[in-house]
Symmetry: C2
Subunit: 123 residues, 2 copies
DNA sequence: TTAACATATGAATATTTGTTCATTCGTTGT
DNA sequence: ACAACGAATGAACAAATATTCATATGTTAA
């Protein structure tokens, strides 16, 4: 009872922001969408993967070239490429021994460059 | 020597993709930008923070209300809000005992909704 | 088949991260 | 001053993560 009252007191005070909580709750992103969004952003939330995507934004490239460009071990690069591939951010094409990677998702480029712009315009 | 040749052989084979590595390297996102991009995306790469932002996208809200909306402890919410505030994704306004949070960055909304669209249109 | 090579993968490890718990900091009302 | 409340914080812990190492695939050439 004491607890409930405390909650209500706060809800009252916050009602001053012109909407009540149930309205916000209804318009909020649902659990599933939140999870998907987070999963997507998490994939982009690592310097190595950002660089991989940044490189593939310019050109289709094989694993070895990505290793040279990022100055990283082959295994590490391969693991991250698999990660990106599982999320369909990146796709691969085999040609003999070498495997070429490229972006699988046009939206990534938009999201990527939109955020790049944002960073440039925020001193 | 043997190693160098191996590298060159691979570079040769990859030259077939119409650009050479030095050209790609020059056009690639630099280390600093990659780090900033990753930092930004990492902030968005967690379900809790996605939900927080999702709620604040609709309305300015106090910590307690966010706790109720997300069904989470006050401490956890507060920690995540600080995280978002350090990256200037979110800002706060004090009013007596309660602190109201809102989005600090218009770009976030763009990035957020662009990615939401993307998720909706990918079966 | 054998050797050489490009890539993939599993296990191990060190680091990072999200939440909880306990406590503290400010503010308001008594 | 005191108690009550909303929010912030630091330490601790469990879970997730990125890289390395060693090894395994699969492909090509000899």
């Amino acid at each position: 009872m004491v607890d409930k009252q405390a909650v209500e007191l706060c809800e009252d005070s916050c009602a001053g922001t012109d909407t009540d909580l149930s309205t916000v709750k209804n318009r909020m992103v649902d659990e599933a969408s939140a999870a998907e969004l987070a999963e997507m952003f998490k994939a982009l939330g690592d310097p190595t993967r950002v660089k991989l995507i940044g490189a593939l934004l310019i050109n289709e490239l094989c694993v070895h070239d990505l290793c040279v460009l990022l100055d990283m071990g082959q295994s590490a690069v391969s693991h991250q490429l698999r990660y990106l591939r599982n999320l369909r951010i990146v796709k691969r094409r085999k040609a003999g021994k070498t495997v070429y990677y490229s972006l699988d998702d046009a939206h990534i480029e938009q999201i990527f460059s939109l955020t790049l712009q944002h960073l440039k315009h925020s001193h």
